[in-house]
Symmetry: C2
Subunit: 225 residues, 2 copies
């Protein structure tokens, strides 16, 4: 079983708001479009906005001293920056960049907090999103600590298939280096394992196009080794 759990969309949260609360958000909204590889949120900058991605895939990653690690790939209808609400450190903890054209709404954080302060159902819905995220990271942490590199790569492929693209054949908007940053491995190692899986007829690779041929065995490898 893959350690990657299905992401949830965040759009229902708006349905919990009154007209006046919605208009607070509307009046403090900036709608923007981002091109592929543009940065939506930059780690270390002041977290002045809560970002809602209406359309497009983006990657969330942490920039360390030596390495980058991709925390997750986000699809449409997700908030970004929620984890910077009410924290002592007033900066974003991660960078988010567009993997394809994205349409986003930036909400001023003050206005967002004003709405949070008024509407407890909304506030609790936000807790739900944050906690869903937390659950994912616990699983992620375990995966990184416990699995060997074959397991990590298998897990990543299953995660992409099950929870990002939702089908057995998909074209990733990621380079091999980014795949490696996602799996937490070196690029060379990642490539070698992908080729190994291909030789074993578990997947079919053509550049960025992936096709899963034997999910059961991939799941077994993900489970251990």
């Amino acid at each position: 079983m893959s350690n990657c759990i299905k992401d949830i969309t965040h759009n229902e949260a708006f349905g919990l708001l009154t007209k006046s609360e919605l208009s607070i958000l509307e009046n403090n909204k900036t709608s923007l479009k981002y091109d592929k590889s543009e940065v939506l949120i930059k780690q270390g900058t002041l977290s002045n906005s809560i970002v809602f991605v209406k359309k497009g895939i983006s990657k969330i990653y942490i920039e360390g001293a030596q390495k980058k690690i991709i925390l997750t790939i986000k699809r449409d209808n997700n908030f970004l920056g929620l984890s910077s609400l009410y924290t002592e450190d007033k900066t974003y903890q991660y960078t988010v960049s567009a993997l394809e054209k994205c349409k986003v709404d930036l909400y001023d954080k003050m206005a967002f907090k004003e709405v949070l302060q008024q509407n407890v159902a909304f506030s609790n819905e936000i807790i739900k999103y944050i906690n869903h995220n937390t659950t994912r990271f616990y699983k992620r942490l375990l995966c990184i600590t416990e699995k060997n590199s074959r397991g990590k790569v298998a897990d990543m492929i299953l995660c992409l298939s099950n929870h990002i693209f939702g089908c057995l054949e998909f074209t990733i908007p990621l380079s091999r280096q980014e795949l490696a940053d996602f799996a937490g491995l070196s690029m060379e190692n990642t490539i070698r394992i992908l080729k190994e899986f291909e030789a074993d007829k578990l997947i079919k690779l053509k550049g960025k196009n992936f096709k899963i041929k034997n999910k059961a065995v991939l799941e077994r490898i993900s489970e251990f080794g």
Copy 2:
């Protein structure tokens, strides 16, 4: 710089509650004492309580198929189980066990949620705690991915010193195996690195008693390698 950020206590949250809200909690509270190594929260069981630890040190860990990983060590005046609020999965994501005698209050989760639903300031304070926790785990994830084993051990020692015990000399309530589970390494490797640090006069070891002799160099090792 250590990647371990200072934990915050959660007791101020109660100050945000009205008398009637406090009495909801009081009426749904069970006070218990736990002995060393007893389990307060068991991963995989239904998350029916929010636990407030009034007194005592505990360890939070995830039990994987092969390994355990200690997420963090918690001191007095902390909530446990907040990350299970409003999640789809109704079970605890981690196990918590007492490292010394602990006094805790168990609050019925339904009652806790009732109070959350009534008091938006309380709800937002809870968001603060959850997000503080999230910030820690992002740093943790980076640490595990990026640092080599010497860096991990150095980081752990600094974390214990700075944020769990708050001084340069301390006696850990952890076995060597637990230290290894905290660092995310094998026990043998952990021990070897500790001995190495001792030989290099960075620390002084006597069983479970630690004394930091050269913090600057430990910080440099934690930074990289």
